[in-house]
């Protein structure tokens, strides 16, 4: 057991640190706080440029093979990178679905042609990806999805609907799960397609969320033509491919989640230190101290549990039970953090952006509302607990 970095890792850390110091955009750092932001719609353009700069500097796709635009490094460097970005309160990466899900899945299942065609542009943010999994009647029970793809010569014709599709309004490509064999058992008739979002027949309708933003969308397909060459991993093999994507999502997003939690916690401590409750600084209140200390502990626990999983990956082993807990833990901790941010503000918590009275320009009000989605998106907490119960603990299915 050793938490110290090797000289090479140390020098990588310094490389990242120096670059971030030089290149962190002023328009980002000048904001009052850098909260735990997910990409917001009005920031898409700015974030696209930010990712491009990260890519040009060699800080995107660290673990991807060199021939596809990556750097062929290990998860350790990825871990260091994320930690440094957190310390610097750097902006989020816009094409996160491409980097965390589409890319690794294409690397795992794609043909050489597909890898050459898609991977580098994911990293450079030239092509943004969204995920076409959920449907109005297929959320937690994803395998019951109904969006149809029917063979038509060298193409497939796609008709149906997806929903809760983040970033679809800016996306160039979609990871699409569609039903190609309605007569097969539900897991066996699904195919994974790489769908061009600019194809005729694709329409995107933004969905307004409780935050007021429209960061996710409904996507409709009307007889959309997709070349058979855009099937990933084989016809009717989509369930297996799609599950791989979700596995990568949980793993790779883990790095990002740790960063977001740490940034949010630092921001919250900052808020507490300049907030007065009952005439005195909030951090002198024993109850506030207890709550903040617990968040600190829970954030650190999240990091170390992640570090155990990474260690296994670095040794070429499959992560065990420790890798399954991250998503649940993160949601619980982050939502509690946002609750405390509201509590600290007292009656001010009611004020949204648009008045000088709002605390920190109303950013916390947005992040508080946004955090409610954490335990739903990417697999609900209830589904995650089923997965732990059944696949990790070996309990029988219900």
């Amino acid at each position: 057991m050793d938490f110290r970095l090797t000289p090479e890792q140390e020098s990588f850390r310094n490389e990242v640190r120096a670059w971030v110091k030089q290149n962190l955009p002023k328009e980002w750092t000048s904001r009052v706080i850098s909260g735990p932001d997910v990409p917001r719609v009005e920031a898409y353009k700015f974030l696209r440029e930010w990712q491009k700069r990260l890519f040009d500097a060699g800080f995107i796709g660290l673990t991807w093979p060199k021939e596809y635009g990556g750097r062929g490094l290990t998860f350790m460097e990825e871990f260091i990178l994320h930690e440094e970005m957190a310390l610097a309160k750097a902006p989020p990466v816009l094409n996160i679905l491409g980097i965390a899900m589409a890319g690794p899945t294409i690397i795992a299942y794609g043909t050489e042609e597909q890898k050459k065609r898609y991977l580098a542009k994911i990293l450079s943010c030239e092509e943004i990806w969204c995920q076409g999994y959920s449907e109005p009647n297929a959320g937690s029970d994803l395998a019951s999805l109904q969006c149809r793809a029917i063979r038509d010569g060298n193409d497939f014709r796609v008709t149906g609907q997806k929903v809760w599709t983040s970033i679809a309004q800016a996306a160039d490509w979609m990871m699409l799960l569609a039903r190609t064999d309605p007569d097969a058992p539900k897991h066996k008739g699904i195919t994974y397609f790489l769908l061009d979002m600019h194809s005729p027949g694709v329409s995107v309708r933004p969905l307004r969320q409780i935050t007021g933003d429209a960061e996710f969308n409904e996507v409709f397909f009307e007889n959309v033509s997709v070349p058979a060459a855009n099937v990933l991993g084989g016809i009717n093999k989509g369930w297996e491919v799609g599950i791989t994507t979700l596995m990568y999502e949980r793993l790779a997003l883990g790095f990002g989640l740790q960063v977001r939690l740490r940034i949010a916690l630092d921001a919250l401590v900052g808020l507490a230190q300049r907030t007065k409750t009952n005439g005195d600084v909030a951090t002198k209140d024993p109850i506030v101290r207890q709550k903040l200390a617990q968040l600190w502990i829970d954030t650190e626990a999240f990091k170390y549990t992640g570090a155990r999983a990474i260690t296994k990956l670095l040794k070429g082993e499959m992560p065990g039970a420790e890798a399954s807990t991250g998503k649940i833990w993160w949601c619980e901790t982050h939502q509690r953090l946002q609750d405390i941010a509201m509590e600290l503000q007292g009656p001010y918590h009611q004020l949204m952006a648009g008045t000088d009275w709002a605390v920190d320009q109303g950013l916390w009000q947005y992040t508080y509302l946004r955090s409610r989605a954490n335990s739903v998106e990417g697999g609900t907490t209830e589904i995650q607990k089923n997965i732990i119960g059944e696949r990790v603990l070996g309990l029988p299915k219900g």
């Binding site: 057991m1 200390a293 807990t325």
Partner: protein, 379 residues
């Protein structure tokens, strides 16, 4: 970064698991619960033969010279079987205090004896005021006739009734801060004026005593470390012992999770194993989350005290805060998911449940350690 155990540590785990399964089944634990001594000479000697009584002491003093990451592996395994007896008090309290503060000759004498199994030493720190900080040390030691006279009461002292000697924390002066003026004394069990009373405890596998000192006279050679400067080494002892305790607690929590999962697979209700119901399944998942996080944060603390990184005290308090809550919650969930059978004396769950409760408050509960975390992160 390597956040895993090496091959030797995995071997230690396997050896310890096998040994403890054979030598310390719950029938043995229950016998020791009723036995005032809490341990048999035979079992103690076997621990010595394994090298575990001197695991963390230098080889020069009969030890194995391993660290707290190694020790954590052993403690986890001991926690799995709710090991009874004075291992914790001798190796991690009395012995460690001598290692941290003692002179070369004290170390040579006592650590060698402890490692070989021929002596047990405990630490008398806490008092009826039940404080964990330096201000809690009020037992007086007055200088007299080239030595010291000790008077006062110590409470919650582990295994004092079977110890050959006690390291007693006493106040030799009221300094500028409570940390000043604390001194450590090595007091033999047969010292005149020393009275030890075994107390009835909820966790019968851990024996706690009241120790009364009435004008107990000791020579100046009884001082362990420098006069008035005892708190600093003591704080290191407490931090290290706390890490070991956390590891033991993790082992217990892991075992409860396994017992509960197995039970949920075989217990049938309404025609199905209860583990198929989400009410049970989700609670088991919550237990797993707690157990895994508890391990992660404990392993980190063990590494931090081994390497003496600046963050070590913070790491220790983070671990104790997390693990104190986690073990209590996991034990309670285990009891609940076992239903009525878990509430019987016959079932082993209550051994863990009670150990969880006792450990929760040993060296400070979660509330105490959260406040310490708050201080250490400069809130």
């Amino acid at each position: 970064m390597d956040f895993g155990f090496n091959q030797e540590q995995e071997m230690l785990r396997a050896t310890a698991r096998k040994f403890l399964e054979n030598e310390c089944p719950s029938t043995f634990v229950r016998k020791m619960m009723d036995d005032p001594a809490g341990v048999t000479p035979d079992f103690w000697q076997k621990l010595a033969e394994q090298g575990w009584l001197g695991l963390i002491y230098p080889e020069a003093f009969g030890g194995v010279g391993l660290g707290f990451v190694d020790l954590s592996v052993l403690m986890e395994e001991m926690g799995r079987v709710v090991v009874p007896g004075p291992y914790f008090s001798t190796v991690l309290l009395g012995g460690l205090a001598i290692q941290e503060a003692g002179s070369e000759s004290q170390k040579k004498e006592w650590l060698t004896k402890i490692s070989g199994g021929s002596a047990k030493v405990t630490l008398a720190l806490t008092e009826p005021n039940a404080r964990w900080d330096a201000a809690g040390v009020t037992l007086r030691a007055r200088e007299a006739r080239g030595g010291f006279t000790l008077s006062g009461t110590k409470l919650f002292v582990h295994d004092a009734h079977t110890a050959d000697a006690l390291v007693v924390a006493a106040r030799t002066a009221n300094g500028a801060s409570p940390e000043d003026g604390v001194s450590l004394f090595l007091v033999p069990k047969d010292a005149r004026g020393l009275e030890v009373k075994l107390l009835p405890t909820m966790d019968q596998t851990r024996k706690l005593c009241e120790v009364t000192l009435k004008d107990v006279g000791v020579g100046s050679d009884a001082l362990v470390g420098e006069k008035g400067k005892g708190w600093q080494p003591l704080a290191r002892v407490v931090d290290r012992a706390t890490v070991a305790l956390c590891a033991e607690m993790c082992g217990g929590a892991q075992k409860i999770l396994e017992m509960t999962t197995e039970y949920a697979k075989i217990r049938i209700a309404f025609g199905k194993p209860i583990g198929a119901y989400q009410g049970v399944k989700h609670r088991a998942a919550d237990m797993l989350v707690d157990v895994e996080n508890a391990k992660s944060i404990t392993y980190y603390a063990a590494w931090a005290v081994d390497e003496q990184v600046a963050e070590a005290p913070l790491a220790v308090s983070m671990a104790k805060a997390y693990v104190s809550d986690a073990y209590r919650k996991v034990a309670a969930a285990g009891l609940q998911l076992h239903g009525g059978i878990g509430f019987t004396w016959e079932h082993d769950l209550h051994l863990y449940f009670k150990r969880a409760k006792g450990s929760e408050f040993t060296f400070g509960d979660a509330t105490y350690h959260r406040e310490r975390v708050a201080q250490l992160i400069n809130l």
